[in-house]
Symmetry: C2
Subunit: 191 residues, 2 copies
């Protein structure tokens, strides 16, 4: 990853061997296939994000506070990653698009944790009448700016901890299965 960050481009096993001045055989003993190298890079990228999620999940905070921490700590990590080295950050964003399959397991785990938080919140009366998977999708969509690396790079300066807290409070107090008027069944002219 240091090599990729220095060169500003993806590094294959062949390039890695050349740069380190070791044989391909030596590199292949660590990464038998190209995909093993990509998996290792993906794992390194996600490790600190997983660590903060685990840390938050282990607390006994109330659901609303817990969900805020669940997102804000990852956001702060990503923002720090971006500010430290924007070019490398964008390289990882591009690689993440190209090799999305490797990230899937980590995203599934984050969704699994979020489902636990949703269940805790529903036990307290929030998100009334909505299926867990619907709430999962709605929350992920509405705070996507705070966890999607591409958006953190694009609109990062407009993202703040305070705004994220407003959004979490809005979701906890405003999200339910009841249609309160946004989606009318009538046409555009009907007031």
């Amino acid at each position: 990853m240091a090599l990729m960050e220095r060169r500003g481009e993806e590094v294959t096993r062949a390039k890695l061997a050349a740069e380190l001045g070791v044989t391909r055989t030596r590199v292949e003993s660590v990464f038998p296939e190209e995909r093993d190298l990509l998996e290792a890079v993906t794992g390194e990228w996600f490790a600190p994000k997983l660590a903060v999620m685990d840390e938050v999940m282990a607390t006994d905070l109330p659901p609303r506070r817990k969900m805020y921490e669940f997102f804000v700590r990852r956001f702060q990590l990503l923002r720090e990653n971006y500010r430290t080295d924007p070019a490398s950050f964008m390289l990882y964003v591009e690689m993440g698009e190209r090799y999305f399959e490797y990230a899937q397991g980590y995203i599934d785990l984050a969704d699994h944790y979020l489902c636990e938080l949703i269940v805790e919140a529903q036990a307290e009366g929030h998100f009334e009448g909505l299926e867990i998977n619907m709430v999962l999708s709605l929350i992920n969509q509405s705070i996507v700016s705070y966890i999607q690396p591409y958006l953190i790079a694009m609109i990062g300066e407009r993202l703040t901890e305070d705004k994220l807290a407003y959004l979490i409070d809005a979701l906890f107090d405003g999200l339910s299965a009841t249609d309160r008027g946004a989606k009318g069944t009538k046409g555009l002219r009907a007031a």
Copy 2:
């Protein structure tokens, strides 16, 4: 634009002249500078989105319904654009990133309209205690998946009219200046 969509790449004035079999002078009489071509392409891209926004703003729908329509109609247009020709859609997304300055005026206009809707909603008691610009930012961030072309391409199949309506209702009923517990001032351990 037909040429760009057929070739799958950005077209300069030189390429345009060559492809049409006309002189550069002829093309330059329509587009004196390269930026005039880019401005025209940007205008064509935004024209149908502006039209639906104007249509919605002209109605006398209640604020909540109006805001939903304000977003859902653009979302439906973008989704249709993407489904019709994903490759061209991604080309315009890339050009939009590269030539963001040309889009700024259209984005400012959309924000201006949204501010009008926010003022109408605040007059009915929504978004209590929040500055207009704060509400503008929070709404744009929370429904970004439905208006940002890149996200429509990436997560389009998870975006639905129903979900957008849930989010608008959540914002109207849940967004206010009062901290209701998401952002604790205490540490991670404090329950």
